[in-house]
């Protein structure tokens, strides 16, 4: 009896251990982990095509939502059982940590082979997100560590039908902040909602604040602020924060925007209840699903200053990395090269309404996506700046802007609070 019990326990232990497996070796072929629910069926189709072409099976495994995916790859990284190909969600410093931990293969030599043929197929800004330049502050050896799958830009969109109802020219969206703010009273009088966006989730606030920071003070001063050389109490930063105060006072912001989740914002815009939305190029697919007849156009955020160009967040929307510890890394690189080539990128763009990362696939995209693609020229992203702001400072800035919008704090108060946190974090870093 005792012997049987011991045998059963041992059997159970081995069964449990056997089930745990390893991310990269448990299945034959190449395993890819991703979080992109909207692209999963297209990935599966491309996987089948690749298998038919080469005989190599590609297992696309979807782990959603993105938060859960993000935790999963961290846990897999700790257990060194990441799949052959995976994407990283997070800031550049997270990307750097994965590289430092030896999880990510340096793709530079593959990118530069055959006279840079793979490298040159991408939009430079899309690739930049996956690059670490010489002298980067993350301590990473310069190189390219990921391949972009698509490109995204975060811009404003406006409803052409509501524009006509407001007596505005649907082909001439406002170009300056002054013109934009003047639409506020008209929107209010018409009982419509102005600008909608997922500002309850805060990161989109951070994005627009950075856009205006680049426009008002220029890239160098923004980066100098991050390096701690310019204070957040600088008049230019006050101007940036005042943009949000002015927006609130003009009535251009939708009611409850500070607690709005982006999905609600997308529904409001797609249902023609809001005149403007601040959203990423992924919205093309979302709006198409919600209201295929929606007439809208893309526009850059209206400029607050003529001194510097408006910069928008953009670059690689999503990227894939190759597991440096994978036994199938050569196969994985071959598959990524195939996935990012013109034909596959055009298929992905058409099937998912995302901007392709491959330059030569642009000619085959819908008009509204082409409008978003023009924004790539103005695109920037914290991941290409080479320096990162402290996350607590970003949080204080975003929360502060929420407070300005609800009339709780002034731009000066917020600037002062953000600067205090910045100084505290800088002191901690020195220590």
């Amino acid at each position: 009896m005792l012997f049987k019990n011991v045998l059963l326990s041992v059997f159970l232990c081995f069964t449990i251990l056997g089930c745990s497996g390893s991310g990269s070796d448990s299945k034959s072929g190449i395993t890819v982990w991703h979080w992109m629910t909207d692209r999963d069926s297209s990935f599966q189709e491309l996987g089948k095509r690749y298998e038919a072409l080469t005989g190599t099976k590609v297992n696309f495994e979807l782990y959603a939502p993105s938060d859960a995916y993000s935790q999963k790859i961290r846990a897999a990284g700790q257990g060194t059982n990441l799949p052959d190909i995976f994407g990283i969600l997070g800031e550049k410093r997270d990307f750097a940590s994965f590289i430092k931990a030896g999880h990510i293969l340096d793709l530079t030599s593959y990118m530069e082979a055959n006279n840079n043929s793979w490298k040159n197929s991408f939009f430079a800004k899309a690739l930049a997100v996956n690059e670490f330049g010489a002298g980067n502050t993350y301590g990473i050896k310069p190189g390219i560590f990921g391949a972009p799958i698509d490109v995204m830009t975060i811009q404003m969109v406006y409803n052409k039908k509501l524009f006509s109802q407001l007596g505005l020219n649907p082909n001439q969206p406002p170009k300056t902040l002054k013109d934009f703010l003047e639409i506020g009273p008209k929107v209010k009088a018409a009982g419509m909602q102005g600008l909608v966006s997922g500002w309850g989730e805060v990161w989109l606030i951070d994005c627009l604040a950075n856009n205006y920071a680049f426009n008002i003070m220029g890239k160098e001063k923004v980066l100098a602020t991050i390096r701690g050389e310019v204070a957040y109490t600088d008049p230019d930063w006050i101007k940036v924060l005042t943009v949000f105060k002015d927006m609130k006072e003009s009535g251009i912001l939708a009611q409850g925007i500070v607690t709005m989740i982006n999905k609600s914002a997308e529904q409001l815009f797609a249902n023609e209840k809001a005149v403007f939305a601040f959203n990423g190029s992924w919205c093309v697919n979302v709006y198409k699903g919600m209201n295929p007849n929606l007439e809208y156009g893309a526009m850059l955020p209206p400029v607050a200053s003529e001194k510097y160009p408006m910069a928008i967040w953009g670059g690689a929307g999503s990227s894939f990395m190759v597991n440096a510890r994978s036994k199938n890394k050569e196969e994985a690189v071959k598959f990524l090269t195939w996935l990012t080539s013109q034909e596959q990128q055009a298929y992905l763009a058409q099937a998912t309404n995302n901007l392709p990362a491959n330059k030569s696939s642009l000619s085959r995209i819908p008009d509204i996506l082409a409008q978003f693609s023009r924004g790539v020229d103005n695109a920037t992203h914290p991941n290409v700046w080479g320096v990162s702001e402290f996350s607590l400072v970003i949080e204080a800035l975003d929360r502060g802007i929420q407070s300005i919008i609800i009339g709780e704090k002034t731009p000066e108060q917020v600037a002062s609070e953000v600067q205090k946190i910045k100084e505290r974090e800088m002191a901690k870093k020195k220590y």
Binding site: D67, S97, I406
Partner: protein, 292 residues
């Protein structure tokens, strides 16, 4: 023979003890250990910082204490409004009233619903842009139009609105436990009291309340533990921390983990939060013992 028996007994409990150790004890010890490190959750190396994370929590992190305060406020409303409502309804359903089984089912529907579903549904009910705007419309119809506003986006009402919705979702648990407790009180006690001339109020005060105290303590402890850890409802109602007005400890821990990649700090926050919950539960327990 005795040794063999002892050994056999240990072998029988070994799988359960192993599973408990692997999934509960070891992670618990690791969380304590990680609280003493600076770690991004990705690197294989960690920097030992001693009690620095705890020092930061206690002396510098105002957002953390604001989140504790907010969670405490929601808990206070749940302890009073939610539990009084649950007790009164349970007491009513314990009497011989019509359709009491129907009420029991109805009252237990909200707790079994997902918090995300509840959040989205209530957001639709009370939001005045993309929702049905039921509350504001009702207020206007009642001639109280001056009170109609965006309940979730007003810093003065956001947290209370969240708390009330949390109570709506949670009162069913208390109702069930109270009802089970009320049904254990022998009916003879009430009959004897009635024979002695006690009024309904006196029976309630002298029999029901004293005999229900242990159940009340249990419900109160469960309410504190459940409410202090609320966060999914908040995310689905207001998208997040809303300039700190709806910030709660679990959201702060998540912000440290996901937003800042400070896993060590998040662990320290988790430990601090756990200790706070243990202390509150202990105080409640001691308080109830004294009351008894």
């Amino acid at each position: 023979m005795k040794l063999k028996n002892t050994l056999e007994n240990y072998i029988f409990i070994l799988p359960a003890v192993s599973i408990f150790a692997v999934f509960y004890v070891i992670p618990f010890v690791w969380v304590f250990q990680l609280g003493l490190y600076e770690w991004d959750g990705i690197s294989f190396t960690r920097v030992f910082v001693g009690l620095q994370n705890f020092k930061e929590i206690f002396l510098q992190d105002k957002n953390w204490w604001q989140s504790i305060w907010n969670a405490g406020y929601i808990t206070l409303i749940a302890l009073t409004f939610q539990n009084i409502l649950a007790f009164m309804l349970a007491w009513a359903c314990d009497r011989e009233i019509k359709m009491k089984n129907f009420y029991r089912v109805i009252f237990f529907i909200p707790p079994v619903l997902s918090e995300v579903v509840v959040g989205m549904a209530w957001r639709f009910i009370i939001n005045d842009i993309d929702g049905a705007n039921v509350i504001n419309r009702t207020l206007v119809q009642m001639g109280l139009g001056q009170f109609a506003h965006n309940w979730l986006s007003d810093p003065n009402t956001a947290l209370t609105t969240v708390a009330v919705i949390h109570c709506w979702k949670g009162f069913g648990w208390g109702f069930l436990i109270f009802l089970a407790g009320l049904q254990t009180i022998p009916r003879e006690l009430y009959e004897a009291a009635r024979v002695d001339g006690a009024s309904a109020w006196q029976s309630f005060r002298k029999i029901t309340i004293p005999l229900m105290i242990p159940v009340m303590v249990l419900v109160a402890i469960l309410t504190v533990l459940g409410t202090m850890q609320v966060f999914v409802l908040i995310v689905s109602l207001v998208g997040g921390e809303f300039a700190g007005h709806t910030s709660v400890p679990v959201l702060r821990i998540l912000a440290s983990m996901r937003g800042s990649s400070r896993f060590g700090y998040a662990c320290a926050q988790g430990i601090t939060f756990g200790m706070i919950l243990i202390i509150i539960s202990f105080i409640q327990y001691r308080f109830s013992k004294k009351g008894q």
